[in-house]
């Protein structure tokens, strides 16, 4: 088994490398923009604007209540048809993943902020601190400790969900498996290589997150 894997890697390693770059690209964009968009959404939802609150509630309800794959199909067929400019397949899929991720990130951040004791806000405001300072200096530094571990889990989900792009033959680690498998007709070893690559990526990521968390908890 090990020899087969080594032989496949020697011959088709470059396909997997391409796959790794593809997954890293998709995951990085999803993590970055999904987190940004999700953060903005959570702030909007915690604001006083009733319409924004309701709109985001609906947004999260739809995106968390339907499969990511269905959402990708939707973006894949819908966006090129109605947008006035050209979009690559990969861009459509990445946009779907970003939108999907933002809904989960919104929930994580909102829950993290709301988990900070109300007394903290009351203490800060009673000292005469502005709402903005209360948020940036008192609530967020405490909320981040609730948010980070959950966000780390979301990042891992994002890496794995990038595999959905393989259905649309976008290059990433699962597509690499399919490519090599169809060239060699060898299934299990080629699959195992992809699996090990995923494991390596998620292990590195969760290790990194643990390190960050430990640094943050030093003062507790």
């Amino acid at each position: 088994m090990f020899q087969t894997i080594a032989a496949i890697w020697a011959k088709y390693g470059y396909v997997y490398i391409q796959g790794i770059w593809g997954t890293l690209y998709i995951a990085a964009v999803t993590v970055l923009f999904g987190t940004l968009l999700g953060t903005l959404l959570s702030f909007a939802r915690l604001s006083r604007f009733r319409i924004a609150q309701e709109a985001i509630r609906l947004y999260v309800w739809v995106l968390r209540g339907t499969p990511a794959l269905l959402q990708i199909y939707f973006f894949y067929f819908f966006l090129p048809k109605y947008l006035p400019f050209e979009l690559s397949d990969r861009t459509c899929i990445v946009m779907a993943l970003v939108v999907n991720a933002s809904a989960y990130v919104e929930e994580v951040i909102r829950a993290g902020i709301q988990a900070v004791d109300r007394g903290q806000t009351e203490a800060a405001r009673s000292l005469g601190m502005t709402a903005r300072h209360t948020m940036t200096r008192i609530i967020l530094p405490q909320a981040i400790k609730n948010i980070l571990p959950a966000l780390g889990n979301e990042f891992i989900v994002m890496i794995k969900e990038a595999s959905l792009a393989s259905i649309f033959v976008i290059m990433e680690v699962t597509t690499a498996f399919k490519t090599v498998q169809s060239a060699t007709f060898i299934t299990i070893p080629t699959l195992m290589i992809s699996g090990m690559i995923y494991l390596a990526m998620t292990t590195v990521l969760s290790g990194g997150m643990k390190l960050v968390e430990r640094r943050m908890r030093r003062n507790d």
Binding site: Q120, A123, L127, G128, M129, R137, N219, D220
Partner: protein, 248 residues
């Protein structure tokens, strides 16, 4: 002593409901500069809500609050500026766990009053010495006992140099052996001439340090007077009932 002509807080006909429950049903009161006023009453009588209305942590449904000659209950009032002058100490301390003891104290003065960092630190260290927490200045609050946390919360409020401090049951969450150290600090503050409103169940303390005591019952000030008048010559049936039930 107390200057009866200097009205610091004037409350007129304050009403507040939560849902269908009327918590305050028309409270009026004048607090003068330098006065120490204890607020007593049963749980749910509205005494904490009354206190929390004074710095608008709760928004009254109707009625007016005039602080130092200016109405704070009107629309378009910049409440942050007033809150800087109204300190508050909570039952559950609410110290900032992510900040060192010293930074708990200096944060608001530096951010909101634009006081020089070094000067704020000096003031904070002086305050910490006053309440015996100077040694703890670089610790995080998780390392403090309940009594120490509450003393920190008191000096954090003092650092803003407020004109009045509101205490909302400051010893109710403390272990019994820590009540005294906190009451001593409040007592010292009272003697120093600070205007104080304190919601408390510590009747002995209220009797000792107050200039005036308010008994709140079902959302109204049912009886008020000097500690002697209220505790020794109780006029109303409700207040007598209440006092009979509590330990001194």
């Amino acid at each position: 002593m107390i200057d009866r002509t200097k009205k610091l807080i004037v409350v007129e006909d304050l009403h507040k409901s939560f849902g269908g429950l009327q918590v305050l049903r028309g409270v009026s009161q004048t607090i003068c500069e330098g006065e120490v006023v204890s607020i007593i009453g049963a749980s749910g009588s509205g005494k904490s809500t009354f206190l929390r209305c004074l710095n608008l942590l709760e928004t009254p449904d109707s009625g007016r609050i005039i602080f130092d000659g200016q109405e704070i209950t009107g629309k378009k009032v910049k409440i942050d500026a007033f809150r800087q002058q109204i300190g508050m100490v909570f039952q559950h301390f609410n110290v900032f766990p992510h900040l060192k003891v010293i930074d708990n104290i200096t944060l608001a003065p530096v951010l909101e009053k634009h006081i020089d960092k070094e000067q704020a630190r000096q003031t904070a260290e002086d305050l910490l010495r006053r309440v015996g927490l100077y040694d703890k200045r670089d610790e995080y609050p998780t390392r403090l006992s309940g009594g120490q946390k509450q003393r920190l919360a008191i000096v954090r409020a003092l650092a803003m140099e407020p004109k009045v401090i509101l205490f909302d049951e400051p010893t109710s969450a403390l272990d019994p052996e820590m009540v005294k150290e906190v009451l001593d600090v409040i007592g010292e503050l009272a003697r120093s001439g600070m205007t104080i409103l304190i919601v408390t169940h510590e009747m002995g303390f209220a009797k000792r340090v107050s200039d005036r005591v308010l008994f709140i019952d079902e959302g109204l000030i049912a009886e008020e007077g000097t500690p002697e008048e209220l505790f020794e010559h109780t006029k109303t049936e409700r207040c007598r009932d209440f006092l009979n039930k509590v330990l001194f």
